[in-house]
Symmetry: C2
Subunit: 492 residues, 2 copies
């Protein structure tokens, strides 16, 4: 276990970096900007994957796998998409290394093994997938195609941070093909909704669903739906996006279908994705100065049992009770770890599991055996109580629900307190400076205003909320008329 974390109010960014490493979630690797996701961090990611994968399948999607590489000629086919990603893509140019003639212990790129056409390591897979769909789609009978892929992607970012922005990251990308605009739009909305429900009900993170402004849209999309969450430092985080791609990719790759009426028409598309960035959202929404705080639905271990003992004999007695309790809890569907390692002291274990955000800790000592009790400690509130062993299963089951709800409510309260309606630009700047968070303000709908506000304040339009009431007003910057408030914030 590492040292005490830097406190959030001293240096939020440092706190985050220390927490990620010390809680064994991830670390930087020898490859610039690429991370190693450690077993504990990966176990949380697996929980996210399992839940999302089930939701995708329930809504008729199937998984498939497409190549890691995109030939340059395909990559450049959809112009806006290519332009958007060209600046940050890793390019394979050779397919062989050979021994360095000047130093036999070294390898060099073999100049004779140059590829005829360079291969881009996928930053996203629209190009390779739509080139494939071309061969799959002839008639309306072949539609819709509802496919998802779990994969790694690479975007050569210059400034990286564990989970939040890494050169390689893991994600899922859905790519669907439809016979009509309406169906594709409904799909894009549906998937954004699935993301929102997942974040709120599973990760206990409240989100705002909305549309991106034109300048924040995915390169190649006609409309980008998104979910935006608010972190504890008042900055927003884009947690997932779902794009209505119109017929852009179908046109770039010439994908047409024969309709029921026998007409040849271009196919309509969506794509949607969430990534390991969600780990960053998770950490920055719930955690505290003692470390990670996990909602029970995402915790690899929901309960950890720690024995407090002196000597082998006492450990055996305690273990008997601990194993019985663990068995009862598992029977009730709770995941339990019994940590009876003799290499570490109870105090060390307490601190470690606090750091790693295990929702409940049960400690059992010799006095507990006498009294038939255990000490139950709750990670989110840092409170403790003694509970009769006979009541532990019911108690723990109840707390799993209660903790999940409490975390969501706490995050929701934070967001409510940090969402401010403003009507003047002075107020806008002032709120941004003093408390941060979401700023709900009128905007005239122009890129010029958006750009100017960004230049002056670093705040961007996070989204045009889907559920906001229409309300006539004046743009907070230009004073021109506006029909709806949008959400501004500084963002990750």
């Amino acid at each position: 276990m590492g040292n005490k974390l830097t406190e959030r109010n001293k240096d939020y960014s440092k706190w985050y970096n220390e927490l990620v490493v010390q809680a064994d979630l991830a670390e930087n690797s020898a490859v610039r900007g690429c991370m190693v996701i450690k077993p504990y961090g990966y176990a949380i990611w697996e929980k996210m994957q399992a839940e999302l994968d089930a939701k995708f399948k329930e809504t008729g999607h199937q998984n498939a796998y497409f190549p890691l590489f995109v030939p340059k000629s395909l990559f450049e086919a959809e112009e806006k998409n290519a332009e958007g990603f060209a600046k940050e893509c890793a390019v394979v140019t050779h397919y062989r290394l050979k021994t360095d003639p000047e130093d036999k212990s070294k390898l060099i790129v073999d100049p004779e093994a140059k590829l005829e056409e360079e291969l881009v390591v996928r930053p996203t897979s629209e190009a390779i997938i739509w080139n494939t769909y071309k061969g799959w789609i002839q008639s309306y009978r072949d539609l819709p195609i509802l496919i998802n892929q779990w994969a790694n992607v690479v975007r050569w970012e210059m400034r990286t941070r564990l989970f939040l922005r890494t050169a390689e990251f893991l994600w899922q990308e859905g790519h669907t093909a439809h016979a009509s605009k309406g169906e594709a739009l409904a799909e894009a909305k549906q998937m954004n909704n699935i993301y929102a429900n997942f974040l709120e009900n599973f990760m206990a993170i409240p989100v705002v669903q909305g549309l991106k402004s034109e300048s924040e849209r995915f390169a190649g999309a006609e409309e980008t739906f998104c979910i935006e969450a608010l972190m504890q430092d008042g900055k927003a985080l884009q947690a997932g996006t779902s794009h209505f791609l119109g017929q852009n990719f179908a046109k770039a790759f010439d994908v047409k279908y024969a309709s029921k009426e026998g007409k040849l028409e271009h196919v309509w598309a969506t794509s949607w994705g969430v990534s390991t960035r969600l780990m960053g959202a998770l950490i920055m929404t719930h955690s505290d100065d003692k470390g990670l705080v996990l909602p029970p639905k995402l915790a690899p271990h929901q309960v950890v049992i720690v024995p407090i003992y002196k000597g082998e004999e006492q450990l055996m007695e305690i273990s008997e009770t601990a194993n019985e309790l663990a068995a009862e809890l598992r029977e009730a569907g709770i995941s339990v770890k019994y940590d009876n390692r003799d290499t570490h002291k109870p105090g060390w274990k307490f601190a470690q599991y606090e750091l790693q955000g295990v929702p409940l800790r049960i400690a059992i000592g010799p006095k507990d055996l006498e009294k038939g009790t255990v000490e139950l400690a709750r990670r989110d509130t840092l409170t403790k109580e003694f509970v009769n062993q006979s009541e532990i299963v019911g108690k723990v089951k109840g707390l799993m629900v209660e903790i999940q709800d409490t975390l969501f409510q706490k995050a929701l309260d934070y967001r409510s307190e940090h969402t401010t309606k403003v009507d003047t630009f002075e107020e806008f700047k002032n709120v941004l400076k003093t408390k941060g968070g979401f700023i709900s303000a009128h905007w005239d709908g122009t890129i010029e205003t958006e750009t100017k506000i960004k230049e002056l304040t670093k705040a961007t339009i996070r989204c045009i909320p889907l559920e906001a009431d229409k309300e006539d007003g004046k743009c907070v910057f230009s004073g021109n008329p506006s029909s709806q408030r949008v959400l501004f914030a500084k963002a990750y």
Copy 2:
């Protein structure tokens, strides 16, 4: 659905390629040697993943994720490993594309975005992982490390075939670190054993467990355990390998631990993997001239129900019964697809599900409604019978077990018939030419003999079986003394 498949005895290789594409398992992509794994093929791979992942976790392994890229300086650190993979690795040299000044619609590699150090796309991850383990291991308390990774890897093969040999493939790679040689060896054996059990009990593929000869070992391993299966054309297929890596990587990356006695010692290592190549083994073990044959434990749909009807009203009546049966079967843990699409005729559906290897097909027509029966067709034996609807659940449950067993027994019989003991080189060549399969023969243990036999016959030593009786004899080629028979075969 495609055309009739080429028959196996006419052109086995063509049959295989046609089957993979027509059964919707995979197809070639726009990227040389890289495949697209289609949803049906991927669903089978997911079944394999789920079962293997559970077995890994039961034996104490955890999943993690390491970078896709290996900096050249790390790649070359373990000399033999580097030498083994240098000839076939994709190399990233640049991190940006830019608009072609001569044609604004094209992109070119930006010469100003050349990486200081080239990055190898991982062909296997020992180098990047052992460089990471260096930071994780200080004392015996940090050991063992038992980690698995599900990932894509790239090996630039010149001759590729769907699933069997592709430039990019999906796999899992286990990488473990231990305090003693004995523990590492036991781990390598254990994992090979898990692979063997998985192939036999889940994929219904009999395998021989053995050791690789020195020349067939993994580059950088001290000992390679393997499982070898026999395909229907008499060629062997290496289905999985588990390597005892000794201290080679610990030495290359300077990974030492302080023992209980306080001595600094190099760590012992294993690595082990199976890949999407298993899809090829699956296809070539069980399938026939009508298409894929799937063991029930791997079938995405174990039962398909096809209604035989004229008109909407009849379909509704049949659907009522079909949905009831489907619900009962699902209740009993059977995965069922009810295909009531009106876009395809029953005959087309029958052929399609035969091609895709669905173990059982249930057809329900108007006469079945009268009589309370269904027609039950078995994919592996191509037999049909009428079964009372009231008996269908018991019948299907029984057949799931029976089909799984039958497929295994059939493959085992084939292997027994195609494993031949030979004692002269004439016989060796003759058997290889006339019936193929495994040849059990004495070998003098030298690379010279092994190489010579390979040159003359194209047969290689598939393995030195773990369970063979020691038996004194004379090398089938050199006549020199030998203490054990080994298995030769032509191989994929």
